[in-house]
């Protein structure tokens, strides 16, 4: 009896062991783990990065796309002409493209998609991307002309965002649950709470089946990788586990960069933070490297301004406010802000909650008392972002090339600089790359000089995948997991 039982358990165990490791051995399927499940799958109707992480470039395509180095590449538009005054863009569209439901792609779909994103009742989360567009016209089925009301130097980049993908009028309303795009992968199934499955449209695609698995707990992600349930995690939420994977011969670890400038934001309108000396004092009180070590296990790049260090236009301003508690105290004294008490509101991500503890300890050294208030994202958006009811907060600004937020009225920094606004206006009217780089450099120097926020570090992207998987993105210039070039070797 006991021998029989043993035989049964063993055979069951063996058959399931085979089942469990099967995905890793099949050479044309892939399972990728993610922390967050997207609310829906329509990138034109929500800001959640988890949507783009699945559908960008894989399922939906735009006129242009952004590659893993952050460079604009042609996609549904194979080429374009720009008029001399920078106000008219003519796009030549790719031939023979169809949507996954079989309907043909042509210029009318482009007009429909861009008009829909710009419409009064649009729920596009990045509507400002299209602000400069005055009119979109289908010249013929393969040509689209976009007329601008003012020059927009970043138009080609903006059209590469997930929020600017081209959808068909037939399927636009159902894309949230049944997305239909033009990309190399089509939607198969969404087991809510567990996975989204895509399959390749063409048999030539090296990966035929992809499962995007949602595993919220970081240690569960690590276990799922080690057990072979999943092949890759594009951005591991557990920096503490990365060292173990680096030591494991079965896995490859890629430490890339993101567009996430992690900053200690200050309410520039609230006394005494409206005094530049106090903001500079806080900047001097912060030790970036200690925060990166303490909160991120050493993963992250120190920054001195609101710009990604891997960008060609980045200006290294890290040395502007070196860590110097004595100087911080002197500045506070000069400003008459001794015995300063401030609140620090922290949203849920680990960089904020862990980083906030370190920041509070460092500010204490400079004589500033900090009260930590943990908040949920919903509260953070309402209280800090919309209501600007805060002293200090930590957040990562993950939108690419977003230094323009400092020139906006009523943004949550409550920072108002005519000088910066002039630079950003000039930038919008400039399409020459060298001139743009110079203007972006000026903008970086202005925000650092004014110490609008403490620029702490650029978030790292910690990719971990099974050895033999090639073509995964190391960097994340846009929020995407582009698997169109991924293959097993």
């Amino acid at each position: 009896m006991s021998r029989l039982l043993h035989a049964i358990t063993l055979s069951v165990a063996v058959s399931f062991a085979a089942f469990a490791v099967a995905p890793a051995q099949a050479k044309d399927s892939l399972a990728i783990g993610f922390t967050l499940e997207p609310p829906h799958l329509d990138p034109t109707a929500g800001a959640a990065a988890a949507i783009d992480e699945i559908v960008y470039a894989n399922l939906f395509e735009g006129l242009t796309r952004i590659d893993q180095n952050g460079v604009v590449q042609p996609q549904l538009a194979t080429s374009w002409d720009i008029s001399g005054d920078g106000l008219t863009y003519t796009f030549h569209l790719k031939d023979g493209v169809t949507f996954h439901d079989g309907t043909a792609f042509d210029a009318s779909d482009v007009v429909f998609s861009l008009d829909r994103a710009r419409a009064d009742d649009s729920v596009n989360a990045q509507k400002p991307l299209f602000a400069a567009i005055d009119k979109v016209v289908a010249v013929d089925p393969k040509t689209v002309r976009i007329a601008l009301s003012r020059p927009e130097g970043a138009l080609l980049f903006n059209l590469g965002w997930g929020d600017a993908v081209i959808v068909a009028p037939e399927s636009a309303t159902t894309n949230k649950t049944d997305p239909v795009g033009t990309g190399p992968f089509r939607f198969v199934h969404w087991a809510k709470g567990d996975r989204v499955e895509l399959e390749a449209v063409s048999k030539d695609q090296p990966i035929q089946k992809v499962a995007f698995r949602f595993i919220p707990d970081p240690s569960a992600q690590v276990a799922a990788l080690k057990a072979g349930d999943i092949d890759a995690v594009a951005n591991l939420n557990a920096p503490e586990a990365v060292l173990a994977f680096q030591a494991d011969a079965n896995f490859e670890v890629a430490i890339g960069s993101t567009e996430g400038e992690t900053i200690l934001a200050m309410n520039n309108a609230r006394a005494p933070l409206n005094d530049i000396r106090v903001r500079r004092a806080i900047s001097h009180a912060i030790d970036r490297q200690a925060i990166i070590e303490g909160a991120m296990f050493g993963f992250g790049t120190p920054i001195g301004t609101h710009f990604a260090p891997h960008s060609p236009a980045y200006v290294d301003l890290v040395a502007t406010y070196p860590h110097d508690p004595a100087k911080a105290m002197a500045l506070l004294k000069e400003a008459g802000a001794e015995n300063l008490k401030l609140t620090l509101k922290l949203p849920p991500p680990a960089y904020a909650r862990r980083g906030g503890e370190v920041v509070a300890a460092q500010l204490k050294e400079a004589g500033i008392d900090v009260e930590i208030i943990p908040v949920e994202w919903a509260q953070w958006l309402e209280q800090v972002f919309r209501g600007t009811d805060y002293d200090l907060t930590i957040v990562s600004h993950t939108e690419p090339m977003d230094i323009g937020i400092y020139a906006r009225d009523k943004y949550y920094f409550n920072y108002d600089s005519p000088e910066l606004k002039a630079v950003m206006e000039k930038l919008n009217a400039t399409s020459d790359p060298d001139a743009r780089t110079k203007l972006l450099g000026e903008a970086q120097e202005i925000v650092t000089h004014d110490a609008v926020a403490v620029y702490m570090f650029q978030l790292a992207r910690l990719g971990v995948w099974r050895k033999g998987l090639k073509g995964m993105w190391h960097n994340a210039p846009v929020q995407a997991t582009d698997i169109t070039g991924v293959r097993w070797e």
Partner: protein, 315 residues
């Protein structure tokens, strides 16, 4: 018995109505704008207003409450703000994970705990008793998520017998689906079994000292018949109470274990819905959980009445 059932049903309905009102009011004052959460940092005021009116958030509160209750009574649910599918559909899919998981855990804990508790009671003060009580202490002291992580490391990562996380869905076959629930069910069952074993032991010990047991022994009945025929039935009342509480807890309280095993269950749904301010989902799930607790208590009351005829008259 009929009057008893009718009275109990009325109380049940009144409780649910009061709960629905409380849930609605709490969600009304909860900070956080769902539209803002969906659209994020770059959202403009006109875009937010467009989305709010699309979601029906611009209508007055009493109107929304009546629409909710009216919909429930008519058997239709709202549409989830985030997932854009009917809430009942979402809940149904999650219950297909949570209910089997809770049921397996409950059966496991009963099968483990009742014989162990009886063994400890009959061997009071001897090795068997100390063994069972030791197991119970450890079982109660170990947090279930920690036990879950250990079992993943051993059975999924090292031995690779079970998947480390996730749920393939029932369409992948009952075998694969049940297999994915084994480790989570054990993690849930262990602390429950530890508590139940203790209660069983105490309750059996108490009954063993009763007069009628002495009478039965004096009549010359065998120990086994005394134990299973007389003692167990009389010891069942406190055990049923605990079992009822545990089932309600297993349905509502498996959030942590579901997170560790990445199971798409009800606990994770409500956790996600709260953080995304998907209030349409939150209110339905919370009401469902209230209903589960109330109905389980109702069932426990009926079970008392079946076990002990005196309870029928007393109620």
């Amino acid at each position: 018995m009929l009057a008893f059932l009718a009275r109990r049903s009325l109380v049940l309905l009144a409780t649910l109505f009061a709960a629905s009102l409380a849930i609605f009011l709490v969600l009304e004052v909860l900070p956080g704008d769902p539209a803002l959460l969906i659209l994020g940092l770059e959202a403009r005021d006109d875009t937010l207003a467009a989305l709010r009116s699309q979601m029906g958030l611009d209508r007055p509160a009493p109107e929304r409450y009546l629409a909710w209750i009216g919909g429930l009574l008519a058997g239709s649910s709202g549409i989830s703000h985030t997932y854009s599918v009917p809430v009942f559909e979402l809940i149904g899919a999650r219950l297909a994970v949570t209910v089997p998981l809770a049921a397996i855990a409950l059966v496991l804990s009963t099968v483990l705990a009742v014989p162990l508790g009886m063994l400890a009671a009959t061997r009071r003060g001897r090795m068997g008793d100390y063994g069972v009580m030791g197991f119970s202490q450890v079982g109660m002291a170990i947090p279930n998520f920690w036990f879950a992580i250990l079992s993943i490391l051993l059975f999924a990562v090292t031995l690779r017998w079970f998947p480390a996380s996730g749920f393939p869905g029932w369409q992948a076959g009952a075998g694969a689906a049940l297999w994915a629930l084994v480790l989570p069910a054990f993690s849930l069952a262990l602390p429950e079994a530890a508590i139940l074993a203790r209660v069983t032991r105490a309750s059996v010990l108490e009954t063993l000292g009763a007069d009628y047991v002495r009478t039965a022994r004096a009549k010359g009945l065998g120990e086994r018949r005394i134990l299973w025929g007389h003692v167990l039935r009389n010891a069942l009342i406190p055990m049923t109470t605990i079992l009822g509480l545990q089932f309600a807890f297993l349905v509502a309280g498996s959030i942590v274990v579901e997170a560790v095993f990445a199971l798409p269950g009800l606990g994770r749904l409500i956790f996600q819905a709260v953080s995304q301010r998907d209030l349409v989902v939150v209110r339905d799930v919370v009401l469902l959980l209230v209903a589960v607790v109330v109905v389980v208590n109702f069932a426990v009351d009926i079970a008392y009445a079946m076990i002990d005829p005196r309870a029928r008259r007393a109620a």
